[in-house]
C-alpha cells in the first residue's frame, strides 16, 4: 500500500500497528539468507497525478506515495499496481543506500493490482539478489514473513504472520474483479504494499491490501495470480483476465434438480443467463446444466476441487489467459454434450471499475459537456456517490447487464453539466441527463454524438434526453461563433478526448 493514496484511507487506521515485527524472527534461517532477502527488497517512491473526471481537460494535483517492491529475474521489480499507478515519476531505493534510481512502469495490471518496474540504469542491480517463487499456495496455518518499508523509513521491516484464510476477495484497487487472496494475521501498513511475502526464502505472495474494520488482517496476492500476470505479459502486453460471462444458479434445491432433470448421482449448476459480449455467449445457452469445467466435476453449489481444496468453478478461468479455451460438459435438452469456449475479453463499454492511466473521454460543444457514464464519473458526485447520484444514472450503472440495458445503450452518454455561456443561457442548469438523440440520430457512443453534431447541416442542434425532459435546442451559427470563446474563458485546452 502506498502512502498518500487517499482512495484507500482504510490503511491509515492501521498505521504503526506492528512495529514490533521489526526484529527479524529466527526461524532457523542463517544470517546470510536474511541478507540475501534484504538485498532483493526495494523501496519505491511514486509521484502520481490523476485526471479530473469533473473537468476532464484538466489534471488534479500531484500526490506522492510510497511502497515496496521485490527484485525478480530479468532485472525486474515486482510490486503492486496501486504503488505505481497514474505515475509521473518513480524512484527506487535500496535499503540503507539513500541513492534513488529512476524507475519506469513496464507492465501494470490494475485488475489484479500487480506491476513490473524496470530501471533506466542497470547498475542498480549490481549488489542485489533475486528472489524466486514458490509455486504452491501455502498451507492454512503456516508461517509467512512480510518484508517492506511500512510508513517509509530507511530500514526494512519484517513482520511474521500466519496464513489464516484462502478466499476470493474484491481487489479494491480497481474494484473490478474478485480474485484469490491469502489472508494473514499480520497487519500490512501503508508502505508495505507491493512487498514480498515469503516462506522458506521464496515468494508466496505480494502484500497489497488490508481489511478495514478488522485489525491485524492483511491481504496477500497469491502465487496463482502473480503467475497469471507474469504469464500474460510474456508476449509484451498485458491483456487481463478473460470474461466468461455465465450467470449460474446453484442446484442445491432438490426440487430444482428434479425440475431440470439432473440425472441421479450427477451434480452441477444451471446457466441462468449469459452476459452480452462475454466469452460464453452463443456457446452456452440459458438453461444448460453445467456438469464440469475442464474435467473438474462441479458441485451443486458451484464449486470444484483443485489439489484437494474447494474453489468456485471460475477458478479454472482465473488461471487461463485470453485466447485459451475451457471445456464444459453440459446437459442440454437431456443430451450430455461438450462445449469448447474460447476465452476473450469483453468490449467493456460501461466502466464500472476504478480507472487508472486513462484519459477521461469527453466532448464539449457550446459549453455543453458530454461524458460517458462510468464509475469515475459517478465519483465526481462528492461524498457518498452511491447515495447521492441521480437514480437514473445509478440504475443504468448497476443494472446495465442484469436488465440488459447494454443492448439499448452500449455506452450511456451524459450531458454531465453546462459551462454557462450566452449560447446556452436557458440550459445552464442542466446536468446528469442521459442523451438519447442528437439531431435525430440515436446516440450509442461518444463518437456517435460527435458525428451527430458535426455532420449536422440544419440551423439548430436538437438534443433529446432519456425521460420526460424537454429537448435542448441551440442555434448552430451561435454555437460556432461562441464555441472558441467558451473554451478560452473556461481554459479548456481542447474540446474533446475520444479514445480510438
Amino acid at each position: 500500500m502506498s502512502e498518500g493514496n487517499n482512495n484507500l484511507s482504510a490503511w491509515f487506521l492501521l498505521l504503526f500497528a506492528v512495529i514490533s515485527g521489526l526484529v527479524i524472527p529466527a526461524i532457523g534461517r542463517t544470517e546470510n539468507a536474511t541478507d540475501r532477502i534484504r538485498s532483493a527488497v526495494v523501496k519505491i517512491k511514486n509521484i502520481s497525478q490523476r485526471p479530473s473526471y469533473d473537468s476532464p481537460w484538466e489534471d488534479n494535483d500531484f500526490s506522492g506515495g510510497r511502497g515496496t517492491g521485490v527484485i525478480i529475474t530479468g532485472n525486474r521489480i515486482l510490486t503492486s499496481a496501486h504503488v505505481v499507478s497514474d505515475s509521473k515519476y518513480i524512484e527506487i531505493e535500496k535499503e540503507n543506500s539513500g541513492t534513488p534510481y529512476r524507475g519506469v512502469v513496464a507492465y501494470i495490471a490494475h485488475d489484479c493490482d500487480l506491476a513490473i518496474i524496470e530501471l533506466l540504469d542497470p547498475s542498480f542491480f549490481e549488489d542485489t539478489t533475486v528472489l524466486s517463487f514458490n509455486d504452491q499456495i501455502p498451507e492454512l496455518g503456516s508461517l509467512v514473513l512480510v518484508y517492506g518499508f511500512p510508513s517509509g523509513g530507511r530500514r526494512i521491516s519484517v513482520t511474521r504472520g500466519v496464513v489464516s484464510r484462502i478466499d476470493y476477495t474484491l481487489y479494491s484497487h480497481s474494484a473490478r474483479d474478485y480474485h484469490l487472496i491469502l489472508q494473514i494475521d499480520a497487519a500490512i501498513n501503508p508502505g508495505n504494499s507491493g512487498g514480498p511475502v515469503l516462506q522458506d526464502g521464496e515468494i508466496v505472495g505480494i502484500a497489497f491490501q488490508a481489511v478495514q474494520p478488522s485489525e491485524n488482517v492483511g491481504h496477500v496476492i497469491p502465487i496463482t495470480v502473480i503467475e497469471h500476470f507474469l504469464d500474460d505479459i510474456k508476449d509484451g502486453r498485458y491483456d487481463g483476465y478473460p470474461d466468461l460471462g455465465i450467470v449460474t444458479s446453484n442446484l442445491l434445491n432438490p426440487a430444482y434438480r428434479d425440475y431440470v432433470n439432473l440425472p441421479e448421482g450427477r451434480t452441477g449448476v444451471v446457466a441462468s443467463a449469459l452476459v452480452d459480449d462475454h466469452s460464453a455467449i452463443g456457446i452456452i445457452q440459458p438453461g444448460d446444466i453445467i456438469l464440469s469445467i475442464d474435467g473438474n466435476p462441479i458441485g451443486n453449489d458451484g464449486t470444484i476441487l483443485i489439489d484437494g481444496e474447494s474453489y468456485q468453478l471460475e477458478e479454472v478461468v482465473e488461471r487461463k489467459q485470453v485466447g485459451d479455451e475451457v471445456v464444459f460438459d453440459i446437459i442440454r435438452g437431456g443430451e450430455e454434450i461438450s462445449c469448447r469456449v474460447p476465452l476473450s475479453k469483453n468490449k467493456e463499454l460501461l466502466k464500472t471499475w476504478k480507472e487508472y492511466e486513462e484519459q477521461p473521454e469527453y466532448f464539449l460543444l457550446g459549453g455543453l459537456l458530454f461524458q460517458p457514464l462510468s464509475l469515475e464519473y459517478l465519483k465526481t458526485w462528492m461524498g457518498d456517490w452511491w447515495s447521492r447520484s441521480d437514480p437514473r444514472l445509478l440504475y443504468y450503472f448497476k443494472y446495465y447487464n442484469q436488465d440488459k440495458l447494454c443492448r439499448e445503450m452500449p455506452e450511456v452518454i451524459l450531458l454531465s453539466r453546462v459551462l454557462a455561456a450566452r449560447v446556452n443561457q436557458y440550459y445552464s442548469d442542466l446536468h446528469d441527463l442521459v442523451v438519447k438523440d442528437v439531431n435525430g440520430v440515436r446516440i450509442l457512443s461518444l463518437s456517435d454524438l460527435v458525428s451527430a453534431f458535426e455532420n449536422h447541416t440544419g440551423p439548430y442542434h436538437v438534443i433529446e434526453f432519456d425521460g420526460d425532459f424537454p429537448p435542448c435546442v441551440l442555434n448552430v451559427e451561435d454555437v460556432k461563433k461562441e464555441n472558441q470563446r467558451i473554451l478560452e474563458r473556461y481554459r479548456v485546452s481542447r474540446d474533446r478526448y475520444i479514445k480510438k
Binding site: 444458479s249 442445491l252 428434479d258 425440475y259 441462468s272 451443486n300 437514480p391 445509478l394 436557458y426 451561435d478
Partner: protein
C-alpha cells in the same frame, strides 16, 4: 419534494389532562358560547400502518389528534392525514364531556381531505355548521381555530401571504394552496386547524413550519370541489391534466418550434398514457390557453383576483372529471382548438402507488417466498434515508416512472425476501427482485400470481425474475406442508391477502 414536515408535537399530555377533566365532570359548556359556535371539533385517532417489510404484520399502533368542522350535511370535514390508517376515530365537541365514535365517509389522499360521519346524531346538538367562503386576498387577516387544554376555543391570528399552486402533503400532485404567516407557539400546528375569516371557513391547515412560522392551507375552493365530488354514485375525485409541461422562454427554442417570439406557451414534453391529454395532445405541442386563459412562458395564467397562478390550477379548481375543457395549442406552425375530456389520475393509475390505500396490504407467501406490490411505502421502510438507501432499481422506477403504467403492466410485483425453510434451500440469498413470470405467465399485479399458480408446469411452480432472468422452482406436492411449517415457524396466520 416535501420540505415542510408536520411539526411533531407530542399531544399525549393534552389527552391526559383532558381525561382528568372529564372524570372530574367539569362543566365548560358555557365557555364556548361567546366564541364562534361553528368552531372546531376535536378528532382523536388511533392508527396502525401496514408493515411493508413483513406484510402479514402491522406496525405498532399510534395515536394522533386534529380538528374538524361541522358541515351542513351533519358530517365532519377534516384532513386525510389526520384520519388515514385509522383503527378508531373519536370525536369530541367543544366543552364536551363525551367521545362520539366516527367513521370515514370519503377520503382523498391527493387533496388531503376527508369527511367523517358520526352515528350518534346528538353529537350535532348545539353545533352549527360552517359556511365556506372562497373569497380571499393577500394580506387578509384570518384566525386559526384551536382548542385549548381547558377545552376553550381560541382563534390564533394569522395573515394570508401567498396564493399559489404547491405540493400537497400525502400525494405527489400540486393544487392551489394559501400560505399564511402564523405563530402556533408551543402547540405546534398543521393538525387540520380550521381557518376562518370573520365567521366563514376559508380553509383547513395542512402543514405548519414552526421555524418559518408559516402554515400551508387547503383553500375553500378545493374543499368545495372535494365535497361536490362526493356524488350519489360515489366519489369522483379531482381531474388531472395528464401531461408534463415545460416553459418556453428560450428564444432559440421558440424559433425552432416556429412560435411567435412574443407570447407564452407551455411545451408538452410528455403525455400520461390513459390520462386526460392522451389522444388529444401530443409531445411537442405547445399549450397556449386553457379555458380561455392564456398561459405564459413559465406555465402561469393570470387569475383576475390573485395574479399569476400555475396552469394546473385551471384543470383542478374549476372542473370535475368527465367535464370537457377547451384548450388552444400550437402544433406544426398552426394554432388549433382542442377539447380535452378530463380524467382522474388516482392511485390505480400508478405503477408505484405513492401512498397507501388505507386497506390491508396485499401479499402472497408461497414456499417462504414473499411477493407483494412495489409501493412508495415499501421503499420508505428502508428507513429515514430511504431515498438514498433503497434498492437502486426501485428508486429509479419510483423517481421516473411511478405514474407511468406500462402497457400490460399495472404494478411491479417484487420478491421481498425469502423466509428460510428447507423447501427453499439454495434460493435463500435472493431478495428484492422484480417478478417477471410465474409458470411462464406474465405478472403485473398480485392477482396474476394467484392466477398463475393455478397453472403449474407439471409438478412445479416456476418463478422467473427480471434481473439476469434468474428463476426458481418449488415442488407442488410438498408445498402445503412447507407453508404450514413456515406459518408456524414465523408466526404467520395468513399466507396471502
Amino acid at each position: 419534494m416535501k420540505e415542510q414536515v408536520k411539526q411533531k408535537v407530542d399531544l399525549t399530555p393534552i389527552f391526559l389532562v383532558l381525561g382528568v377533566f372529564l372524570m372530574a365532570g367539569s362543566v365548560l359548556g358555557g365557555g364556548a358560547s361567546d366564541q364562534v359556535e361553528n368552531g372546531p371539533v376535536r378528532i382523536e385517532v388511533t392508527y396502525q400502518e401496514n408493515n411493508y417489510s413483513s406484510p402479514w404484520k402491522q406496525k405498532k399502533a399510534g395515536s394522533r389528534s386534529g380538528y374538524g368542522c361541522v358541515l351542513s350535511s351533519k358530517r365532519i370535514l377534516t384532513t386525510a392525514d389526520i384520519v388515514k390508517d385509522s383503527t378508531m376515530i373519536k370525536l369530541e365537541k367543544p366543552g364536551g364531556k363525551k367521545f362520539y365514535p366516527g367513521r370515514i365517509e370519503v377520503i382523498d389522499y391527493d387533496v388531503d381531505l376527508a369527511v367523517v360521519s358520526v352515528e350518534d346524531e346528538s353529537f350535532f346538538d348545539g353545533l352549527t355548521s360552517v359556511e365556506i367562503d372562497q373569497r380571499i386576498r393577500i394580506d387578509q387577516p384570518v384566525k386559526f381555530m384551536v382548542m385549548e387544554n381547558s377545552n376553550k376555543i381560541r382563534g390564533i391570528p394569522g395573515e394570508i401571504v401567498k396564493i399559489s399552486v404547491e405540493n400537497y402533503f400525502l400525494g405527489p400532485d400540486k393544487y392551489l394552496t394559501y400560505g399564511a404567516a402564523v405563530n402556533f407557539e408551543d402547540r405546534g400546528g398543521g393538525w387540520s386547524e380550521p381557518v376562518f375569516s370573520g365567521d366563514k371557513l376559508i380553509g383547513l391547515t395542512m402543514l405548519y413550519s414552526g421555524k418559518k412560522q408559516y402554515a400551508t392551507i387547503i383553500p375553500a375552493s378545493i374543499i368545495n370541489r372535494f365535497l361536490a365530488a362526493d356524488r350519489p354514485g360515489g366519489y369522483i375525485g379531482f381531474p388531472h391534466h395528464g401531461f408534463i409541461g415545460a416553459g418556453v422562454r428560450d428564444p432559440v427554442f421558440r424559433e425552432y418550434l416556429q412560435l411567435p417570439p412574443d407570447g407564452g406557451g407551455l411545451y408538452i414534453s410528455s403525455i400520461y398514457p390513459g390520462g386526460s391529454a392522451d389522444g388529444v395532445l401530443q409531445e411537442g405541442d405547445v399549450l397556449f390557453s386553457v379555458d380561455g386563459f392564456p398561459i405564459d412562458v413559465d406555465g402561469y395564467y393570470t387569475d383576475p383576483d390573485w395574479g399569476s397562478i400555475e396552469y394546473r390550477d385551471l384543470f383542478t379548481r374549476f372542473h370535475s372529471p368527465g367535464e370537457e375543457i377547451e384548450v388552444e395549442i400550437f402544433r406544426g406552425g398552426k394554432q388549433l382548438k382542442k377539447k380535452i375530456k378530463l380524467a382522474r389520475l388516482d392511485r390505480s393509475n400508478y405503477l408505484i402507488p405513492p401512498y397507501s390505500s388505507g386497506e390491508p396490504l396485499e401479499y402472497l407467501i408461497v414456499g417462504g417466498l414473499i411477493f407483494q406490490e412495489l409501493t412508495a411505502d415499501y421503499l420508505k421502510d428502508w428507513g429515514e434515508k430511504w431515498q438514498t438507501k433503497a434498492n437502486k432499481k426501485y428508486l429509479y422506477y419510483y423517481t421516473y416512472h411511478s405514474r407511468r403504467p406500462e402497457p400490460g403492466r399495472n404494478r411491479i410485483i417484487i420478491l421481498n425476501k425469502i423466509l428460510p425453510d428447507r423447501i427453499n434451500l439454495g434460493y435463500q440469498g435472493m431478495s428484492d427482485l422484480v417478478l417477471a413470470e410465474v409458470n411462464g405467465l406474465p405478472i403485473s399485479k398480485i392477482g396474476d400470481v394467484k392466477e398463475a399458480l393455478k397453472h403449474p408446469e407439471k409438478d412445479f411452480y416456476r418463478f422467473t425474475f427480471e434481473e439476469f432472468d434468474q428463476e426458481l422452482v418449488l415442488p407442488i406436492d410438498s408445498l402445503p406442508e412447507a407453508d404450514r411449517r413456515i406459518g408456524e415457524q414465523y408466526g404467520i396466520s395468513r399466507m396471502s391477502r
